[in-house]
Amino acid sequence: MREVLGEECLDPQAVEVREVPTDETAEREGFVGSPTIRIDGRDIAPTEGEPVGLTCRVYRTRDGSVSPVPDREDLRDALRRHHEHST
């Protein structure tokens, strides 16, 4: 993730890593699994109907493969969308 931030000329150190240690925290945060990446509070890959909880999150890469992390191009697109909307 920090690599993509750097490639997009954004500060890689701007990432805030937050642990979600309990079910209560997951409920409060609307946390649907690890890792969840939010840019200014917005999930880069929003899901509908996904149950909240301390679980592992399943992503699909652009070639259709299952992955524990989002496709870097999806992350890049999310960063660019955010940049467009915030400028």
Binding site: P51, L54, C56, V58, S65, V66, S67, P68
Partner: protein, 167 residues
């Protein structure tokens, strides 16, 4: 070389299975992305080695109360929608088998020889994200055991989501 515990666990149809001859025991589950990423590769191993007398057992040990996607009903639904699979999908509801084996992750792979000795333990291959990796570590271990050799490596670090233990 440790001897693996014997067990009998029910599959999604209620039939019981356990180690018998050379056996691949895979602790896995429905919801972990690592388990899902390796799933087809593991099924391919089950298919490819069945003719050589290798039995493959997929075991879901996760706490289904906190993780309903790993319930027996959810396992049944998955097998019904994706199956038939070349290996039974077993429910370790009290997690006793996973604890006895020291399973850490999903997936966590054990190769047992006909005397139930653990001959390989770890990940299926070097990269969950690379289909072409083809569960090669597991295949190499099976080839060695079937040829009467010691697998090399005999152990790798299991990679995946932690087993979801009950509190």
């Amino acid at each position: 070389m440790s001897t693996a515990p014997d067990f009998r666990l029910p599959d999604t149809d209620g039939a019981e299975h356990g180690p018998d001859g050379v056996t691949v025991v895979v602790f896995t589950c429905n919801h972990c992305p690592y388990a899902l990423a390796w799933h087809e590769r593991l099924l391919a191993v089950a298919t490819d080695y069945a003719d050589r007398g290798v039995r493959t057992l997929l075991i879901n040990p996760n706490d289904a109360e906190r993780y309903p996607r790993d319930s027996l009903d959810a396992m049944r639904e998955r097998v019904a929608s994706e199956g038939p699979w070349p290996a039974p999908y077993l429910r370790d509801s009290d997690q006793a088998v996973a604890r006895a084996y020291g399973a850490q992750t999903t997936p966590d792979v054990f190769v047992l020889d006909a005397e139930r000795r653990v001959r390989y333990r770890g990940a299926p291959d070097s990269d969950h994200g690379d289909e072409s990796a083809g569960s090669q570590w597991l295949r190499d271990a099976l080839d060695a055991v079937l040829d009467g050799r010691d697998p090399d490596p005999a152990e790798t670090d299991p990679v995946g989501c932690s087993v979801k233990w009950r509190d």
